[in-house]
């Protein structure tokens, strides 16, 4: 059953606009050299952090299509009638969102790092750090989407909710991308694990609470 849910969400994401967040990610990364100037040393120093900010803003874009259409269309109710726990539905949505979001984001990080003038080593570290962080970004997106589903101005509210919650990821992820010798990657992995494990429960409770 869960596999059918994941397959459905993956199909809808690919048929929808899975490339949109990634295009946005590249766009934000491209803005950085325009904003701080073409100084290669400066760019290389801030490039890892800039990639993370681009990734966080890109994670906001798909939020409105993750849960709200299914809530409004009665699909979440029908899942409940089929005996599926809201937490399972949320976990399936997280898995499906991660599958359609993370690989494209990692792929786009390569040209993104070229724009920012990152070296091969820094690119490798940034890719590892981003890869470790993407499950948590997907989980946060689904949890926030569930919390804001059905609310007016949900898009703006989602940004206000998601970005502060992603700060631990940002701190450790950007640090892991900058310095491979520090323990930042382990701390990032711990933060990502906590977020990914907790998100289905938060999202499940939010879906139940949104029923009227």
């Amino acid at each position: 059953m869960i596999a059918a849910l994941i397959a459905r969400d993956v199909r809808r994401a690919i048929g929808g606009a899975a490339w949109l967040p990634v295009g946005f990610f590249l766009l934000v990364a491209t803005l950085v050299p325009f904003a701080v100037g073409p100084d290669a040393r400066l760019l290389a120093r801030i490039g890892g952090g800039a990639l993370w900010i681009a990734a966080l803003t890109a994670a906001l874009l798909p939020i409105e299509r993750l849960v709200e259409p299914d809530r409004a269309d009665g699909v979440l109710d029908q899942f409940a009638l089929h005996g599926l726990a809201e937490e399972s539905v949320a976990a399936a949505k997280i898995a499906a969102h991660w599958l359609t979001f993370a690989p494209l984001l990692l792929l786009a990080a390569v040209p993104g790092s070229l724009v920012l003038g990152l070296g091969a080593d820094a690119l490798r570290r940034s890719l590892v750090a981003l890869a470790v962080g993407t499950p948590a970004l997907a989980a946060l997106a689904v949890a926030v989407a569930a919390l804001t589903a059905g609310l007016p101005r949900a898009g703006a509210l989602a940004g206000m909710l998601l970005l502060p919650l992603a700060v631990p990821l940002l701190i450790f992820g950007a640090a892991a991308g900058g310095d491979g010798g520090s323990g930042a990657l382990l701390l990032e992995a711990a933060a990502a694990l906590l977020i990914t494990a907790g998100a289905p429960f938060a999202a499940g409770a939010a879906i139940r609470a949104s029923r009227t």
């Binding site: 809808r12 269309d73 009665g74 699909v75 109710d77 029908q78 029923r211």
Partner: protein
């Protein structure tokens, strides 16, 4: 015989307003209950309560596996109608019943049409076909006649009659009259 749906002294409160209290009802195999009452009297809320999508303020609700048709079709808008229905039939493990349900609601020629292009009456037929294909013994229908034309109403009546003949039960909220023998429950008096 064990009832398919039973309410015992159920009270429901929505938004601070008590919609009903001390409500008892029982639906056994072959039985059907027509829910009436003015707008806002709690018909849809009672159906969502019966479905387990709302919690009662007090009292007990017991139910078997059920299927719900309300204003939301719950069919993927970008899929062809046949495939959108197939998703739910597969999820419930009742794919074998789908073709008969599609034919019963007269949707055979629309199976390849994307759900987003269906008219509201066609979407209503599709919603009812989803319920008919579910294999559930208990059907909860919220305003099932909305948008249906004369042919659609006749098909629904036939579908309900067959379902009851096979030992199923139906709880329907509707302002319009429903054909066949129905027990009646009027809310909001």
């Amino acid at each position: 015989m064990k009832p398919l749906l039973r309410f015992e002294a159920v009270a429901l409160r929505r938004g601070g307003r008590l919609l009903f209290e001390g409500l008892d009802l029982k639906l056994g195999p072959g039985e059907a209950l027509h829910l009436t009452g003015p707008n806002g009297s709690g018909k849809s809320s009672l159906i969502r309560l019966a479905a387990g999508l709302l919690r009662a303020e007090s009292g007990r609700v017991e139910r078997t596996a059920l299927a719900l048709a309300d204003a939301a079709p719950a069919l993927d808008r970008e899929l062809a109608l046949g495939n959108a229905l197939k998703f739910w039939a597969r999820l419930g493990g009742t794919s074998g019943k789908l073709d008969a349900a599609i034919a019963a609601m007269g949707l055979g020629e629309l199976a390849d049409v994307p759900v987003r292009l269906l008219s509201s009456g066609q979407a209503k037929r599709a919603t009812l076909a989803r319920v008919a294909a579910s294999g559930a013994h208990l059907w909860l229908l919220d305003e099932p006649l909305n948008g249906l034309d004369g042919d659609g109403v006749e098909r629904l009546d036939a579908l309900i009659a067959r379902h009851r003949g096979l030992g199923g039960a139906v709880l329907a909220a509707s302002h319009a009259a429903l054909r066949g023998e129905w027990a009646r429950l009027e809310l909001g008096r």
